[in-house]
């Protein structure tokens, strides 16, 4: 690991002050489960880190009537176990407790979770492979290579790395926003505008400046919370990243008509993915195995497979259909 300087401010204000004078390349450190891991692998080599993991004012959870507010420093485990989240937003809880392991969820923050980096093995495991994300201009070993876990949606010729996180996909389906602050001031970024596709610049993964701190995540309260699920399909039953995942939130009227419908896709795209066309196929109509299947097909209509990942298109279609069934049951309970 490269040497780095370390500061751990006590407050958000002190963090902004530290970021204002920090050297270029400085990184914010929270739970470290992405950043410190990649520093050990020398894929991240910051000259300085600003540790925000123990800032009390960031470690908050507020399940209010009008919105849910998670401080960026709230631990995944604590949000997942929150009684209101578990009952009124089961999909949000599932997107957290089905991620990583309890040890990691005790360390990892929800803010850091949003900005976790890809698990592409060529990116993580070394300089013998070309990787445009690690070494711009070197090429992409995954295109035409072992791409079993790579993205079906949102890829480019330069990079097809999957966005691996779960929570952000459910947040996207619920129209969440993040409040950020930094030396240049405060702003609010919708989750839908936070992550970017790789295009020809795979090193850029989101729109935040390096000195911008996520302060909190806000989720507008919605009745679709109760009718929600995060269905995650994995190589093993627990403690693995998604091969395909669907984040669904629904309301269903008394006559069986779908009112509100939100569908996010996880583990299959280069960024958290909202399947808007799929949502449109269901709104105002009945939810049946056939309409659910058709929505799944609409969600993957634009999918592009490579050498080894084609099976995940059908898997994804079925995951969406199954998630719609589960969400429908919850919405009408």
């Amino acid at each position: 690991m490269r040497a780095f300087s370390y500061v751990a401010p006590d407050t958000v204000d002190a963090t902004v002050a530290a970021l204002r004078t920090a050297p270029p390349g400085t990184r914010i450190l929270a739970g470290g489960t992405t950043l410190y891991d990649l520093m050990k692998l020398e894929i991240e080599t910051p000259p300085a880190v600003v540790d925000v993991h123990r800032i009390a004012e960031l470690d908050t959870i507020d399940a209010g009537e009008r919105e849910l507010v998670f401080g960026a420093g709230a631990r995944m485990a604590d949000v997942a176990d929150h009684p209101v989240i578990r009952t009124a937003y089961p999909g949000l809880a599932e997107s957290l407790w089905q991620a990583a392991s309890q040890q990691l969820r005790n360390m990892a923050t929800v803010g850091g979770n949003l900005l976790q980096r890809t698990r592409c093995p060529y990116f993580r495991n070394g300089t013998e492979f070309p990787c445009n994300k690690r070494d711009p201009g070197s090429g992409c070993a995954a295109v035409g290579g072992h791409d079993r876990a790579h993205a079906l949606l949102g890829g480019s010729d330069a990079c097809i790395a999957t966005y691996p996180g779960d929570f952000a996909v459910m947040l996207l389906a619920f129209d969440a926003v993040v409040d950020v602050t930094g030396p240049a001031g405060e702003r609010t970024v919708p989750l839908a505008g936070l992550h970017v596709e790789p295009g020809d610049e795979p090193t850029r993964e989101h729109v935040l400046a390096p000195d911008e701190l996520i302060v909190r995540i806000r989720v507008p309260a919605t009745p679709a919370g109760r009718g929600s699920t995060y269905l995650k399909i994995r190589d093993r039953e627990s403690y693995a990243f998604a091969l395909a995942a669907a984040a669904v939130g629904l309301t269903v009227d008394a006559d069986g008509t779908v009112g509100d419908c939100r569908i996010g896709l996880g583990g299959v795209a280069t960024r958290p993915w909202r399947a808007t066309e799929a949502e449109q196929t269901l709104i105002g109509g009945p939810l049946t195995p056939q309409t659910a299947r058709r929505a799944g097909e609409a969600a993957f209509a634009g999918a592009r497979s490579g050498a080894e990942n084609g099976f995940r298109i059908e898997l994804g279609v079925r995951t969406v259909a199954d998630a719609l069934r589960i969400a429908g049951e919850r919405a009408t309970r």
């Binding site: 040497a3 470290g32 176990d81 392991s101 360390m107």
Partner: protein, 155 residues
């Protein structure tokens, strides 16, 4: 950096690069905490920080300043007898080579304290961060369940 480890005050000059795992093993000679993958995958390095289970391999040691660290060396009872979960591991043959065992036990103690032991399925889910190469999982689940049941019944 000052913290406590198994109740004792520790004060060390640390390079911020050093992991909590390396600090425990190399500086404090507490080698019960194991290094499996060093990348957050296996759970062998599980310890408690302020009572919560975490992975010491992915924790920069400087981050635990002022906190209480507990390792497998610190779980024994006052008379240095085995912790009930340690005894349960023996009772249920919950280990073969034993390499994952300290991590399993630290994780299991926390799993019981968290209340994530309602069923065997819940134990499996909440213990899934601890991989056992020898696949002693059946015994591990039984040992955690026995200890959790004993706690619930006020033993």
């Amino acid at each position: 950096m000052a913290c406590t480890v198994n109740g004792r005050d520790v004060s060390l000059d640390l390079d911020p690069r050093e992991s909590l795992l390396d600090m425990l093993r190399e500086q404090l000679a507490l080698t019960g905490t194991k290094k499996g993958c060093d990348q957050g995958h296996c759970g062998a390095c599980t310890v408690h920080v302020d009572g919560r289970r975490v992975l010491s391999c992915l924790t920069p040691a400087v981050q635990v300043a002022g906190q209480a660290v507990t390792t497998i060396e610190g779980v024994a009872g006052e008379d240095s007898g085995l912790h009930p979960l340690q005894q349960a591991f023996i009772d249920h043959d919950a280990l073969q080579c034993g390499y994952c065992t300290p991590g399993q036990i630290m994780s299991g103690i926390a799993c019981i304290a968290e209340g994530h032991c309602g069923s065997d399925d819940e134990i499996r889910e909440y213990m899934s961060g601890n991989i056992c190469r020898c696949a002693a999982y059946v015994g591990i689940v039984a040992a955690v369940r026995q200890t959790a049941d004993a706690v619930r019944n006020g033993a």
